[in-house]
């Protein structure tokens, strides 16, 4: 096995990991602030992919504009989910939130099947995004580079927002102690909504990337990135944004390397491997890599 081959696998893993990381961030931000997992989060990836398909391929709007529109669309869906589902049941037992978001997930998938049919659609980017670039032994398409670089920039932007702005400070305070945040005069409805909007915007853009990477989309596609990114968030320590990013890359890299380095007969077990990774990490670090013990919020 040559060094070039391994380098190639690492690049592939980073591309996949970038997408997992972007989706995992949303799981973690939302859990961090309301202590609930939004099971409909993966379906925002699907919506992002279809919005891209509609705007870019059908309407032919330029790529950067589409990317902004997809971010916005993801954010709006997140806001709608929060306003429509999580806010009315705030204060209810955790299980209510889980079931409700599972319901939203099933609803979004079925609405997708209803209006878009379950038939997979081809998702192809124009040639300038498909061009193959070769650096040494490593080859990748322009879209792969776009995925890695834009994921990195978005994460840097998010870290800036969360750590360097007043809204970010309010969000971190709300995540730590919701009553205390209110006593500071923080409008917690707004901070919670911001966490949903930001996390969901990233999931939306991950949908654009997912379609570009795999070339085919259907209304049920959100399940796999949703589940795996959830695993990534748990590996990193759910509630922690750096943890979600790290978890996403660990998962993407280990999944690709598993398939790439072991004999081909094992490649069908890639998903099993994802969960073995999860179990092993949780056995050693029950709260995930960057996880802190977080109290349940009544």
């Amino acid at each position: 096995m040559s060094g070039g081959y391994i380098a190639q696998q690492i690049v592939n893993g980073l591309v996949l990991g970038s997408m997992y990381a972007l989706v995992a961030i949303g799981f973690s931000m939302i859990y961090g602030i309301i202590r609930l997992i939004n099971f409909a989060h993966g379906d925002i990836v699907m919506i992002g992919a279809f919005v891209t398909l509609g705007l870019f391929q059908t309407l032919g709007i330029p790529f950067p504009v589409v990317a902004l529109a997809v971010l916005t669309a993801g954010g709006i869906i997140g806001i709608m989910i929060e306003r429509g589902t999580f806010r009315p049941i705030r204060g209810a037992p955790q299980v209510t939130g889980f079931i409700a978001s599972l319901g939203i997930s099933i609803m979004l998938q079925n609405l997708g099947v209803m209006f878009l049919t379950a038939q997979p659609r081809n998702f192809s980017f124009p040639d300038y995004l498909q061009r193959v670039i070769k650096i040494g032994a490593v080859t990748f398409r322009t879209i792969d580079a776009v995925i890695m670089i834009s994921a990195f920039c978005l994460m840097a932007l998010l870290m800036f927002l969360v750590h360097r702005t007043k809204l970010g400070m309010a969000m971190r305070a709300t995540a730590e102690n919701i009553d205390m945040a209110r006593l500071m005069g923080i409008n917690i409805n707004r901070t919670i909504l911001s966490a949903f909007a930001m996390g969901s915007a990233l999931a939306g853009i991950a949908g654009l990337m997912w379609g570009g990477k795999f070339g085919q989309i259907d209304p049920l596609l959100g399940f796999v990135p949703g589940l795996k990114s959830f695993v990534a968030a748990v590996i990193g320590g759910v509630g922690s944004i750096p943890g979600a990013i790290l978890g996403g890359y660990i998962l993407g890299l280990s999944e690709v390397l598993f398939v790439g380095l072991l004999p081909p007969v094992y490649s069908a077990f890639r998903d099993a491997f994802v969960f073995v990774t999860l179990i092993l990490i949780l056995l050693i670090l029950p709260n995930g890599i960057f996880g802190k013990r977080i109290e349940d919020r009544p």
């Binding site: 730590e176 209110r182 006593l183």
Partner: protein, 242 residues
């Protein structure tokens, strides 16, 4: 400045405050004493808007020129804006935020950066340790330092009325002594204080007036001197010796 008129508060199904009335005058220090479970914390949480009374009124007059406002239905955000700052039991500092961020978040609703900076500097003069540790995570501070941070943060909203819930909890006697000294200074600069305190001796020493709460009702009130001289209060809260 604060008039509480016969409020009834439930927590879940428990009938905690069964008709409490009290008054805090401008620039006063008023102490609230009573056994555990008497409803002291519930009363403070109701004033700051975290709990809503089933019945009764809470009237607040932000400054001597303004009208009295019924704040019993207002949100915590509105109440902070009006000038009531609540420093809760257990301090409630944001342990993962830095010391500086904790103080700045106390001024969350304020806009004027220069004034905020002035207040920050004056709080650092009172508690120099906070300036030294401004970049540290607040969770790494000692208990006494955390209490200073919590009080400093509460002052960053430039409150008219400062509500303190058990500031001495878990602190050593020397730290408590200096903390109460600071409270008295804060009061002399014009901030009204409503204080819940388990250490009744110190509370009565600091406060001008006090109320005794028992199972959700005010059973006794008066000036600190009167209460300290009261036989029942001595027996129940001052350990029988004064």
């Amino acid at each position: 400045m604060l008039k509480i008129d016969d409020i009834h508060v439930y927590r879940g199904r428990t009938y905690v405050l069964q008709g409490v009335s009290l008054e805090v005058g401008r620039r006063e220090i008023v102490a609230l004493i009573g056994a555990n479970g008497a409803g002291k914390t519930t009363l403070l949480r109701t004033i700051s808007g975290l709990l809503r009374p089933k019945k009764g009124k809470i009237l607040f007059q932000p400054d001597s020129q303004s009208q009295e406002i019924d704040i019993s239905g207002a949100s915590p955000e509105q109440i902070v804006q009006l000038g009531i700052s609540h420093c809760p039991e257990g301090r409630g500092i944001f342990s993962r935020l830095s010391v500086l961020e904790n103080l700045m978040i106390g001024a969350y609703l304020r806009k004027n950066r220069n004034e905020i900076l002035d207040d920050y500097n004056s709080i650092c003069r009172v508690f120099p340790i906070l300036k030294e540790r401004e970049d540290q995570a607040a969770g790494s501070l000692s208990g006494g330092e955390q209490e200073m941070l919590a009080i400093g943060r509460a002052l960053m909203s430039r409150p008219e009325l400062l509500i303190l819930d058990e500031p001495s909890l878990g602190l050593g006697p020397i730290v408590v002594e200096s903390l109460f000294q600071v409270l008295s200074e804060i009061n002399s600069r014009g901030v009204t204080i409503l204080l819940v305190e388990q250490n009744a001796i110190m509370a009565l020493d600091l406060a001008h007036r006090a109320y005794v709460l028992e199972t959700g009702r005010v059973v006794l009130y008066g000036t600190s001197g009167e209460l300290a001289g009261n036989e029942d209060v001595q027996k129940a809260y001052l350990g029988g010796i004064v």
